[in-house]
């Protein structure tokens, strides 16, 4: 009995761990590519890879509805919006300016300090975790959204309405109102 358990010990690297490390590599690698690549279109494509890997992580954590929302909102909507904005504003990839500000060393120190502090806090805290990740069922999330969190849900719909009006107001060309008057 114990020999069988011992013989099974080395193969603890199960499929979900392999998937986690692949997705973590995708998230971190694509994230680093986003902030270091010189051409901003390449950065936007790396951002899409990062968001897609995160959707995989949400699915791995048993939250399929959040993974679907990630694909719809981030991969589908926000990425396309950002690519549109880049293509509307960039003059082309000739004579690209230097990508980094002169405060790069300070930024690196602050970013490493954030990672170090959060990592230290994660290690120090005695998490009272369940041994296996518990999935968030779609019907349970739907119940929570429309009962416990009904007020924030309504406030967010109001916020999105305000954001739409604000975006239309900001993106309008000033000449167009003069012509209308």
């Amino acid at each position: 009995m114990s020999a069988r358990i011992l013989s099974r010990e080395p193969s603890t690297l199960d499929i979900s761990s392999v998937l986690f490390f692949l997705l973590a590599f995708g998230v971190v690698g694509a994230g680093i590519a986003v902030v270091t690549l010189r051409n901003i279109i390449h950065s936007a494509v790396a951002m899409m890879i990062c968001f897609g890997s995160l959707a995989g992580m949400y699915a791995l954590l048993g939250a399929p509805i959040v993974a679907a929302a990630q694909v719809l909102i981030y991969l589908g909507a926000i990425s396309v919006l950002i690519l549109f904005a880049i293509m509307l504003t960039q003059a082309g990839d000739a004579n690209l300016p230097a990508p980094f500000h002169r405060q790069v060393p300070i930024a690196a120190v602050v970013a490493l300090a954030i990672i170090g502090l959060v990592g230290w806090a994660v290690i120090q805290t005695d998490w009272d975790v369940v041994p296996q990740a518990v999935g968030a069922a779609v019907d349970a999330i739907a119940d929570a959204v429309f009962t416990t969190f009904a007020l924030p849900f309504e406030l967010i719909s109001m916020l999105i309405l305000v954001a739409i009006i604000g975006a239309i107001f900001l993106a309008r060309r000033p000449e167009e109102d003069e012509r209308a008057n």
Partner: protein, 101 residues
């Protein structure tokens, strides 16, 4: 893989986003860096929801609400950036220093 692994990935992604926001000169890339930080927080919320579960699934609901707020933020942010680029003809934030004078 336990809770700590996901939280480490989340912390690293947040650090990358913070670095990109402070170090890059392009206004649109600063917005992308903010999105990376939003996503890092979302990952930690989903990980907490999976490993410290409660009846109301607050972590997953908060993650969905963060996504909605991020969509609103990026809409207004990009409209602002496009308006600024249209008047200043550049996306480089260090050339927007006129307010200083």
């Amino acid at each position: 893989m336990g809770l700590e692994g996901y939280l480490f990935v989340s912390a690293i992604l947040f650090g990358i986003g913070a670095f990109g926001f402070m170090a890059r000169r392009n206004a649109i890339l600063m917005l992308i860096s903010i999105e990376l930080m939003f996503n890092a927080v979302n990952l930690s919320l989903i990980a907490f929801n999976a490993f410290l579960p409660d009846e109301s699934n607050a972590g997953a609901v908060f993650a969905l609400m963060v996504m909605a707020v991020a969509a609103a933020e990026v809409t207004v942010g990009l409209a602002l950036v496009i308006a600024i680029i249209r008047t200043r003809q550049t996306a480089e934030v260090d050339q927007y220093a006129d307010l200083k004078e």
